[in-house]
Every structure is written in C-alpha cells, then in structure tokens.
C-alpha cells in the first residue's frame, strides 16, 4: 500500500507544472533582441606574441522574434592578429517562445593568433570584437479605444479614446506611443479614424533596412540606415500607412488611417491596434587585448 502511495505522489509531482503556465506568458515585452557577451578568458586580457588564442561569444536571442541569416563580421587588426577561419559568418537563432522563454543561444568561437611585436615594443593593446547585423521584427498588439461618439453625446461610454505610451514589445525598435485622432467624416454616418504611431529605437544599436544585413556588416554596398518597415492593422482591417519610415534621432512618427472610416453605429468599443515593424539591427562588441612580448 505504502509504495503505491509514494508512486502516486511522485506521479503527481511530475505532472505538476511550477510557475506560470505557457498560456499566461506575454513574451512580447522588453527591448532586447540579440544579446552577446564574450566568454570569460576568451579572449583573455593579454596574450604573448606569436601565440594562439580564441575569442568566443555567447549569442542569445532575448527578443520575441527569430533571427534568420544574421551576419557576424569579426574585427581584428590584421597587423597584430591573424584570424583563422572565416571573418564573416552567418547565424540563425530562435527568439523567446513558450517552449524556451529565455530565447535560443549559441556559442561562436574564433581562433586567432597574435603576431610578432615590432622591435623594442613590449606591449601593444589591440581591439578585438565583432559586428553583428541581423534582421528583426517587432509585433506590437496594443489595445485601443474607438469612440465613434466624437461629440460626446452619450452619457456613459465603455472606454475613452486617449494617447497611450508603451515600453518595448519584444524588440529594440518598438511602438512607443499611439495617438488616436477621431474626426468627422464626409459621410455623416461615419467618422475618420487616424493614428499617429511613434516608433522608437529603444536599444543601443543602429537600425537599417531589414533585407540588408550583409551590406551592414561588410564593405561594399551600404545599407539604408534607420529604415523600418511598418504594417498596421486595426482589428482585422489593414491601415493605410507609409510602408517604410526613417528614424531621425532614433525616432519617427507616422500617420495611419483607417480606410473608409468607421461607422458611427459601431459605438464605443476597445479593439487591437497591431503594428508589425521589420528592420535590421546592428551593434559591435569589442574587448581590448594586450599582446606582450
């Protein structure tokens, strides 16, 4: 009897899930996407001349979107360090998702060799690192209030139309503010609905066109900097907006219209404003390494 009870208890424990269930998770938060760190002692703070050493990064996609065809460009001063292997590499990493709420991670290792120092030179400090360029996307689902009673004739309303500010939605480029503007329509039975959507680069990297990761990380053709692709929906209805916007001082505001307006008969209700932002993102990680004689 007793073993059966213990077995039953163990089964109960195994079947339990601790913490928040996947269904409760909102993974589209924060402003992170790809996070990269050097592993400890790789590269080491100093190496001797004519010595092999390695540089290893841990890449974690902490954002809510996957990275496909990301590019890593290894930075090393060729007069001081030999890079063994490819200097330009690609990578793919899934982002946060219910099965892996931390995001996928991988290690990227680069084998290097220090060169001989110039005569009399005892120590030279060189900068090692890599530039990361990858396409990314932010999917923002924002609850907004549509109030077709623009003249406030109704005594009570289900919600109030107002400006709203937001923090990140699972990517470094996010919607930081929406300002609804509901105005009279030419058709007396409708109202005009416009949204001023502010898109901001909340991260420390730089933004470029989503399809130009290779250009951003290698010489040759230069990418279109600060370009962000935008698609917005109000409920199921696609909004009329500029397809691409350019950030200035890390920010821009675009106007999106509800085509055809909204029927006054719809009354006051809450709905979802969905904004999909697509962009490329790049940053550089470096570390000084001393080469000693």
């Amino acid at each position: 009897m007793k073993p059966l009870f213990l077995l039953g208890f163990c089964l109960l424990l195994v079947s339990c899930t601790f913490g928040t269930g996947p269904q409760d998770l909102n993974l589209r938060t924060g402003t992170k996407s790809l996070s990269v760190e050097f592993l400890e002692q790789s590269p080491p703070p100093f190496v001797f001349q004519n010595s092999p050493f390695s540089m290893t990064f841990e890449l974690v996609n902490e954002g809510a979107a996957p990275i496909d065809d990301g590019v890593i460009s290894i930075n090393a001063e060729q007069d001081l360090v030999i890079v063994q292997g490819e200097r330009v590499r690609t990578f793919t990493l899934e982002g946060k998702r219910p099965e892996n709420i931390k995001g996928d991670q991988t290690l990227e290792s680069v084998q290097l060799r220090s060169k001989a120092l110039p005569p009399q030179t005892e120590i030279v400090t060189t900068q090692l690192g890599a530039t990361f360029c990858y396409p990314y996307a932010t999917h923002a689902e924002l609850t907004t209030c549509i109030d077709t009673d623009i003249f406030n004739r109704a005594a009570t309303k289900a919600c109030k139309t107002q400006s709203q500010s937001f923090s990140g939605q699972g990517g470094p480029v996010s919607v930081s503010k929406i300002e609804p503007a509901l105005t009279p329509h030419d058709d007396a039975g409708k109202i005009r609905a416009e949204y001023l959507i502010t898109v901001r680069n909340l991260g420390t990297g730089q933004v470029f066109d989503a399809l130009q990761s290779a250009q951003a990380c290698t010489p040759g053709e230069t990418p279109d900097w600060n370009k962000v692709g935008v698609i917005a929906f109000l409920g199921d209805q696609k909004l009329t907006c500029a397809q691409t916007v350019t950030l200035e001082n890390k920010e821009t505001t675009l106007r999106c219209d509800v085509p055809g307006g909204i029927a006054k008969s719809a009354g006051t209700y809450t709905t979802t404003l969905t904004v999909d932002l697509t962009y490329g993102y790049t940053f550089t990680l470096t570390k000084p390494v001393q080469i000693k004689r």
């Binding site: 060729q78 110039p118 900068q127 530039t131």
Partner: protein
C-alpha cells in the same frame, strides 16, 4: 509718518552686518591676521561679544511684539555668543593649522578660507538675506561670494596649479589673508595668462599639424628603451689656461640604456683652434659602448693653439642608430561614412572604436618620428578609380645634438597602397618584408608593402629642428578590398623606421689668457721663491734680484714703513713669465727703512710670493748718503 515708514522698512540687521565686516577688516589689517598687529586680541574678543549682544537686542526688538520668555532669551543669547566665539577663534585656528595645510593647499586658498571666515557676515548674508540686511548689501554679498568662488576655483584647479608650477611650501608657511588678498590679483592674472598662453601654444601646434609643417606623436612608454646615452659635463684639466698652456678638456660618455652595444666615434673640435688636438679614444676608430658602460673622452690642444680670448671646444660622440614608429588609422568606404554621418551615427561608436584619434607611437631616442595620414576614419570612394593621399613623416631632433645624416627611412604601408612619389628630394624603392632584417618581424608581405626612402639632407638637423618626408600614396580600385578588408571599418597601420647618424655633443667656452700676463698658469701657479731675495742697496736706488722655482710674472711693492699694507706703496713689475726677475727701485730716500712685498702674477691673480722658509715680505734700509 514718513519717518516712521522709513524706519519700519529699514533692514533691521544692516548695522550689525556692516559692523561685522568692519571688525573683520580691522582684524585683517591691524589685528591678529596682520603681519604687524596693532590691536590686541582681547579687543577683538570684546568686539565680537558686543556684536552678539547687539544682534540679540535687535532680534528681541523685531519679533512683532512677541514676548520672549527668559529661557528663549537666554538660548538666543547663548547661540549668538557661540557664533561670536567661533568667529573669534576660526582665524586663530586657521593660522595655526596653516603650516600643515600649506604643504598640500595653496596659501591663497588657506588665506581665502580665513578671509571667508567672518561668521557673522556669512550668517547675515546666507541666513538673514535681503530682509535682514537690505537689497543693496545682499547683492554685494552675492557678488562677493561669486568672486571668492572663482578665485578659489582658479587657485585650486589642478590644471591651473600645474601651470603655476611647483608650490613652494617654505615661502608660504605663514597664512595671511591680507597677503592672500594682495596676491589674489597677481594669481588671477598669472593663471589667466598661463591658460591663455597654453591655449595659444596648443592652437599653434594643431595649426602646424594641420598645415603639414610637422607630424607629432608620443613615445611608447611600454617600449624597451633602445637608446639612452648621456654625455657628462665637459671638465677642464686646469682652472685657467694661457696661450702657452696645453688646453685639455674631458667628458664621460655613459650608455644608460642600450639594447645592444653601440658603435660610436668620438670627436673634439674647435672653430678657433690653430692646431689639431690629441684625442683619446682615437676619433678615427669606432668604439663599443655597452649598457652601464662609460668611456672618457680626452682632448688636448697643444700650446699656442688658441689666441687670447674665448675659445669654444666641442666634444662629440657620433653614432648610427634607428628610431621606430607606428601609426594606426581607420579606413571606410566613403559612401558608408557619409551615410552614417548623415544619419547621425557615430562611426567610431558604431564599430566599437575607442581610440578615436590615434597618434604616432615612437621609440625613445634622439629622433622622434611623427606621422600623419589625414583624419580618421578615411573614406575611400569605391566609385573612383584612384585614391590619393599623403603620408607625412617628420623626424624631430629631440636631443641636444644634431642629426648628421638620414641614411634611410623604411616605410611600411598597408597592402593596397603604393608610394609613388615624394614631394621633396629623395628616392623610393619597394622591397619585400623579408629584406627588412632585422625589422622583418615588423612587416608582413600579406598585409603590408615596404619601401625604402632615401631622403636628401642638405645640412645637419640641429636640436629642436625637424625634417619632414611627404610621400604620395595611391590605391586603385582593385586594391580597395585589400584596404577595406571584410569589416565595415578597417584598422590599418603605417610603420616607419629611420636610420640616421647622430652626433651628441657638448661645448664649453674657455677664457684663454695671455701668456705674458703670468705665463702658463699651470706653471706659474706653482712658482715659489727659490731663494731669499738679493739686495744691492744704494742710498737712492736699489736692485732686488728674485729667483723662483717656476716661471711666473712678478712684481714688488715698496714704501717707507714697516709694512706695505700700512703705507702708500709703489710698484715695480716684471711682466714676463720667468724664473729670474730683477727689480730696480730708484728715487729712494737715503737712510730710510722700506717695507717690501714680492707678489706672483699668475692668471690675473696677485699673490704673495714666498718660498720654503723664505718670506716674500720684509724690510730693507737704504744707506745714508755717502
């Protein structure tokens, strides 16, 4: 009524505030803080207590009819007397602490603190403010605080103190606000001038670099010191030289830091010498000088090499050596660079570059190498067939000697660049890194291209002067990938190694005296009386024969009396350096006792000529008229 209103609106503590300032000024100029105190300290103690009492009485009268309890009154009086006691003692404490403070803080600052100490002034300025002392005094107080703050700031700022030079603690052991006040203007003016001059100098240097006059850099502090040779001061073999002397000078040359024994030749030259000197070691042969080793250079000019007057002799050590330098720069595609800038993206920040303005790093030695290659990051326009720029290399004479010749300058440029021409005279020859022994480790044919530039130097480069080589660099479209590499911003190095002949030299000026003013000073300096003077006495004239142990000029002083020091003497000289001198004294008084003193004239000096147990001083008596 009008009078009443005026008295109602008058600031209640204006008088107290003015009195506080007056008492403090009295303290500074005539009291404890004065260098010549006229008022005894007890008077100041009484004045400050009086100030407390006045304040207390005023405060009681401005409470809008509020009745003070005895306890309140006593507390208020206690507080005010406390402030007065503090006001009295702070300057005393500051002065006694001054000696400890001044080792680290400027006396101006200490003086300022003492000056700033009148607590009652501060109390009414900060606590009472405009309602207590009135708008005018309050404004003046604010201005005073601002001026004081600027003054202290200018005195305390490390950069200003650095410009002001080392602080002399000894001279500042006494803290005097009066002196601080008087010195304030000088300090402000001096510091202002120094800051202005430093700015102008900095601007001039920048301008020079910008206009291509010279390229600078900094020494590699981490590098092993390749070359450290010190030539000691030139010393003379004797204190004074005459034209008949052998003029000898010598100096020590020490190798303080040498990575390998240095081969050097010594030299001894004089533009005014008529003869060739004897020099050791042999100037025609190279000698090895190792680290921590020293050699003496001796140079002797034979007699009659110099005329009277000033002779300049220069000792030199000539050696061939090499100075190295490197300069880091950044290259980018021009379009990317422009795009980044247009989009307000800092290219350095974007690509993790922390060393934004790399300067040339050079080895320590007599020649500093500076290089310049535009302002990084340099943009290469992929659309253009050719990229042209100029690499400037400046060789600066950093020591006190001269650069006699520049044998060659090896220039290593990033692969992709080609040196096509020089703006000055000289030749360029490309070569493989493997031919650059012993510098081959420094050059890699895969990433660099090496050239030997042989400049044409028309004259030696004196101390603090420089020579600049300007090399035209070109790259063509097929070379761009080599220069730009695989990264958006590439780091590339220019390297230079200059081989040159350097002469380290030191000069000395010697005053050559006329031989007939005493002969060879080395000889006359030792001259003594060889025997007692011999007198041939007549009633009105006398001949005195003197024999010395060495050649010297001589004279005899004589007069009627017991000692030449106490009578008006006459002198007869024997100006030529000789061993035997005959002095003829005439016009003497018969039957008179004369005092005499024989002097040696040597190197412009007059000293009594004595011998062993023989005095050069004595008396003789002329015979009576026969």
């Amino acid at each position: 009524m009008a009078t009443d209103r005026a008295s109602e609106s008058a600031p209640p503590f204006r008088l107290v505030f003015i009195l506080a300032i007056l008492f403090h000024l009295l303290d500074i100029f005539f009291g404890r803080l004065s260098t010549n105190p006229l008022i005894p300290p007890v008077i100041f103690f009484a004045l400050y207590v009086l100030l407390a009492m006045l304040t207390w009485l005023k405060m009681r009268g401005t409470q809008g009819g509020k009745q003070f309890t005895t306890k309140d009154s006593l507390q208020l009086l206690g507080a005010y007397i406390g402030i007065s006691i503090a006001a009295y003692f702070i300057p005393v404490l500051a002065n006694s602490l001054g000696k400890a403070w001044v080792t680290t803080i400027s006396p101006v600052v200490v003086g300022s603190i003492v000056l700033f100490a009148p607590l009652w002034v501060l109390y009414w300025g900060f606590v009472g403010g405009e309602p207590a002392i009135g708008k005018g005094l309050s404004t003046l107080f604010s201005i005073y605080i601002i001026v004081w703050f600027i003054w202290v700031l200018l005195s305390v700022l490390p950069v200003v103190q650095h410009l002001s030079g080392p602080f002399n603690a000894e001279s500042s052991a006494v803290v005097s606000p009066k002196e601080a006040l008087l010195g304030a203007w000088t300090t402000l003016k001096t510091n202002y001038d120094k800051i202005t001059n430093a700015t102008i100098e900095g601007t001039k240097k920048q301008l020079n670099v910008a206009t291509g006059d010279a390229f600078t850099g900094k020494v590699d502090n981490q590098a092993k010191e390749k070359l450290g040779i010190v030539m000691g001061d030139i010393k003379l073999t004797q204190q004074k030289f005459s034209t008949q002397d052998t003029v000898g000078v010598y100096a020590a040359i020490t190798g303080e830091a040498l990575d390998a024994p240095l081969k050097l030749k010594v030299s001894c030259t004089s533009e005014t010498a008529k003869k060739t000197p004897a020099v050791t070691p042999d100037p025609s042969k190279e000698i090895d000088l190792g680290a921590q080793e020293s050699i003496d250079v001796d140079c002797s000019y034979p007699p009659d090499s110099f005329a009277t007057g000033t002779a300049s002799i220069t000792l030199g050590a000539t050696f061939s050596t090499e100075s190295l330098a490197y300069l880091k720069t950044y290259l980018m595609e021009k379009e990317r660079l422009r795009d980044l800038r247009d989009n307000k993206i800092d290219p350095f920040q974007q690509y993790g570059i922390t060393d934004r303005n790399p300067v040339t790093i050079y080895t320590s030695g007599p020649v500093n190498i500076g290089m310049g290659f535009g302002t990084p990051p340099l943009g290469i326009n992929l659309e253009e067939d050719e990229f042209v720029s100029t690499l400037g290399i400046t060789l600066s004479n950093a020591w006190a000697g001269k650069i006699d010749a520049i044998e060659r300058v090896v220039v290593v440029v990033p692969r992709g660049f080609t040196i096509t021409e020089l703006t000055g005279e000289g030749t360029i020859k490309p070569l493989s890194c493997l031919e650059l022994s012993p510098l081959k480790d420094w050059c890699d044919d895969e990433v660099s291209t090496a050239y030997i530039i042989t400049p044409v130097l028309t004259s030696a480069i004196a101390a603090n002067n420089a020579y600049t080589v300007r090399a035209r660099l070109r790259a063509h479209q097929p070379d761009y990938p080599l220069l730009l590499g695989n990264t958006p911003l590439s780091t590339r190095y220019f390297k230079a190694a200059a081989s040159y002949t350097y002469t380290l030299e030191k000069s000395t000026n010697i005053n050559i005296l006329a031989a007939d003013a005493g002969g060879s000073t080395s000889e006359c300096g030792t001259a003594m009386l060889a025997e007692a003077p011999k007198f041939t006495l007549l009633s009105t004239e006398t001949t005195i024969n003197v024999k010395t142990t060495a050649k010297t000029a001589a004279e005899i002083k004589y007069c009627i009396g017991a000692d030449v020091a106490s009578c008006a003497s006459q002198t007869v000289s024997s100006p030529n350096a000789a061993i035997e001198h005959s002095f003829h004294l005439d016009g003497l008084t018969p039957n008179a006792r004369y005092a005499y003193q024989i002097n040696r004239l040597c190197g412009g000096q007059r000293t009594q000529l004595d011998g062993t147990d023989i005095s050069g001083k004595g008396t003789f008596t002329t015979p009576a008229t026969s």
